[in-house]
Symmetry: C2
Subunit: 122 residues, 2 copies
Amino acid sequence: MKENSEKLAFAKIECADNLSAVEDAVYVLGGKWKLRIIVALVSGYYRFNEIQRAVQGISPRVLSNELKMLELNGLVKRTVDSEKFPVLVEYLPTEYAETLKELVSMLGKWGRNHKKRITLSV
Amino acid sequence: MKENSEKLAFAKIECADNLSAVEDAVYVLGGKWKLRIIVALVSGYYRFNEIQRAVQGISPRVLSNELKMLELNGLVKRTVDSEKFPVLVEYLPTEYAETLKELVSMLGKWGRNHKKRITLSV
């Protein structure tokens, strides 16, 4: 009995721990756009307009905010090449953003599979 | 030159494909709560009040909506045991929800790591 309640207490702590870790990740990556922006960056779209075209439906204002948030979290680096005219501004995925590659590809796989599943069941 | 532009076209199609798959996944799992609810369910919280306590900050109304959405997507099964008094309603993760386990644990790992990183850099 005691062992059982200890096990339960442990499961609860573990769950709370997982919950807060997932919460942290969702805080950084969550929302409608961030992961999609990261896919676009990793796919080689670096300029604002390119990214906006790739991530369909996002407004310039929201994209600008999202890029700032991603920069604050160390996932994007904004570079300015003022030698060029017009000045070339690029948003490059950082090395740290590479840590998301596997996660994003897994999410993509799941999404593809889920779409098939939902389409078949309707 | 031609080969290059072909490559580019392929990369674009691949990117669009990934983007829409990630979009599908984010549509089902995105938002502030869904993944956290799934963590709670997988951790063994099945009753409405239990889940609400585990997912801190969620209102009953939002939780109820989120559970309905998850049920529509085949990730949760609502069971009613009317033999009991009061009637026992439970929300059980489906077998299909198991396909998210790896994804969620990866997300949790990333979140834990990211928090460390951010805490150290401040």
